[in-house]
Symmetry: C2
Subunit: 436 residues, 2 copies
């Protein structure tokens, strides 16, 4: 993926740090321009990119699973979508230098807080080559440098795509080191030990990848290892809505992290809801597994074991459990949820309010599919990833997840001594309008 | 510091987790009440607290340094200030359940983002016993449970203060496990390996303490290891202002992390500014150390070695260096700064603008003392600490550093299937007013 095997990862990261300093002070226009040039480059270099991808796909055929092969494949339409995606990021509002706070501390002493880039990102992704372009676009838009490591099965595709990024950087006069490929996992391992060189690690791929990264570094990691999402069908759930929402949350895209894995059904509604669910989902090929109470109602249901409550199937498999009440549903979610997205279906405003107030997850939904947990659906324009961490960014993360901020203080010679001690001058602390 | 030596740290942390869940759904009133009760308890238990502290001070006399002894000592006035501080935190606006975003995704499908507690904090602090009360107050105000480990020399004082906290929790009916003492550093070490049990670690104390904690955990750490702050005296600096600001930044409280350690003087102004600085600071007992160019101007100046540029003196010692221009000053700060607070003194708006735009630090100041980098001076009402990290919170951190957020989605039966594919229903994505 890189053409610079001679450089050690720490030298690459130092070059990225230097590049990030230049990027931090670029204009909004220049960062938009480099993205438009990148979109152009993707179109200009389409023959090379598609040829490289064909080689990758040939080499991987029979070696990786069909679904991975599908993700690896880039055709003309996918490439056009990549270019379109880059142009969409280019036209988003500039995330940098945004005023978050403006406060007069005293006459002639004004504090502001403005957004700035994080610095250097390290992104590890699996087979999808389009991730390289999406991540590069988001990083450049937000003024961050990025070190990328893609899946080895996509190495030729990634090299061709990286050439497009390099071409755009050169055309625009931005440092080439703004976006670099890392040669191998060993390089990633080196950088994971260097919190001085890398500000944020973003793993995009399987749960196993994310977990292995999280365990290997004390650099902040943005991502989610697991998406075990629940849907609670309350005593007061509407049958038609409940069935439709479970169907959407399970089947619309079963391998998504925000797909539902376990449905918890209130005992009072189980005899009404469970047969309707089974009647709807079984013909659609969903492998249903139930607790003993479920199996008492639907005798031919497969048995759900303890492991089912902690499994992210990522497939058309659904675990079903009858719960005594909302308390038991909340306890089940506390014990087995991954803090991703949890939903309740109910016509009872009190039950909905309690669920929304008490569930501790990045997303807590009422009468909506868990599949809405997504940056594009939330209207963020671009998605960096979905975080189940509680620090920095949680849930679907847009460009703001790639930002930090700085406090700027503009004075006229003030020292703190005047504001200290028994005859201290008071601070005014007046918030000023953010818009000029 | 704890009266429960039989409980293992993980059991303590699990109890804290349970307590944190209860705290997260408490009313603003209840969290204010527990703080008022805590202030009352501090006053009621003054005799026991002062007696315990006297024992600690006696035991530490001759064992720890005079400055540490001073920090350890609690008298009636300090205790009154603690109670007053707790009441001040009680009256701050409720940080929880604040609406950060409100957006219509479609008719009958509304997304909000509301603040929530982080969960369980682990706070390690050194000799100051008042830190225990301040931290407990901030944690309870923000609905977080907290596990505390204070300095062993303050163990009797901390136990007495913890009794006051427990008394307030019991009086208010909040879980006792909301605030717990950890018995020893071994307990801390155990918890530092448990990101599943602790959400944020806050070390408050020496650089060595912070560094050792940062190196030992992959749980997010809020704090700063070093405060190497610079003041740049530009060619266009006003002499009187420059001297006054350096004096304030160095001497107002030399052991503070936001005190200045190195002054960088523009070559064009060196012959004007340096003698004025020396004339002002030397009589005040500042140990001045200069680069060769400084010593050419002030021959009896002590020599600054390479190590001086990387040293946080925490004392009335100041390193001085002549730089060729603003570029060299910026390069020096990049090489030696700790990302805490950097200041420029200049009457040249262009130089100021460049400094404010280019310096990457939590605080970047123009014509003001670095000592303003402080949560109270910024108007945050309460300070959790000062962070030199770039993730989550940077610079002085108020209560918002103890918060995360949740996305709440209120629908009326929507699935994502309707919003997918070629005939997808469009999202409206209309931002709604945050105030009702």
């Amino acid at each position: 993926m890189t053409s610079e095997p001679a450089r050690t990862p720490d030298i690459q990261a130092l070059a990225a740090r230097n590049a990030s300093r230049q990027l931090a002070t670029t204009t909004s226009e220049l960062r938009a321009t480099v993205l438009h040039r990148l979109a152009d480059q993707l179109e200009l270099r389409a023959p090379q990119i598609l040829a490289a991808n064909t080689e990758d796909v040939l080499a991987a055929t029979g070696v990786v699973e069909a679904s991975a092969l599908q993700r690896l494949k880039v055709d003309g339409a996918k490439l056009a979508a990549m270019a379109q995606g880059v142009r969409a990021v280019a036209t988003l509002p500039d995330p940098l230098n945004r005023l978050q706070l403006r406060r007069e501390l005293d006459e002639g002493l004004e504090l502001t807080r403005v957004t700035c880039p994080l610095g250097v990102l390290c992104v590890i992704f699996e087979s999808r080559p389009d991730a390289l372009i999406q991540i590069s676009a988001l990083a450049l838009k937000s003024g961050n440098a990025v070190l990328l490591k893609g899946g080895s099965e996509a190495s030729r595709s990634n090299a061709a795509l990286l050439d497009a990024v390099q071409g755009a950087l050169l055309e625009t006069g931005l440092p080439e080191a703004s976006v670099q490929g890392l040669p191998d996992r060993a390089a990633v391992s080196v950088l994971l030990q260097r919190p001085d060189l890398v500000d944020l690690v973003i793993p995009r791929g399987s749960n196993a990848l994310v977990q292995s990264i999280q365990a290997a570094t004390r650099i902040p990691v943005l991502g989610h290892a697991e998406g075990i999402c629940h849907m609670v069908l309350d005593a007061a759930a509407d049958t038609t809505m409940a069935v439709a929402l479970v169907r959407d949350a399970k089947l619309q895209y079963p391998s998504a992290c925000n797909a539902v894995e376990t449905v918890l059904i209130h005992r009072q509604a189980a005899s009404r809801l469970l047969p309707a669910l089974v009647a709807d989902l079984r013909p659609r090929g969903v492998d249903l597994r139930g607790c003993p109470a479920c199996r008492a109602l639907v005798p031919d249901l497969a048995e759900a074991g303890e492991a089912d409550w902690d499994t992210e199937y990522g497939a058309p498999i659904l675990a079903l459990r009858v719960v005594a009440d909302l308390d038991e549903a909340l306890a089940h979610i506390r014990a087995h949820g991954s803090g991703h997205t949890e939903a309740i279906v109910t016509e009872d405003p009190g039950a909905a309010a309690r669920f929304l107030a008490e569930v501790d997850a990045a997303g807590v939904f009422h009468n909506a599919s868990t599949r809405f947990a997504d940056g594009f659906r939330y209207g963020f324009g671009a998605e960096v990833g979905i975080s189940t961490g509680r620090i920095h960014a949680r849930g679907p993360v847009g460009l703001e997840g790639l930002l930090s901020y700085r406090y700027l203080l503009r004075g006229s010679g003030q020292g703190v001594e005047d504001y200290s001690g028994p005859s201290a001058r008071p601070f005014s602390h007046v918030d000023l309008p953010l818009e000029p």
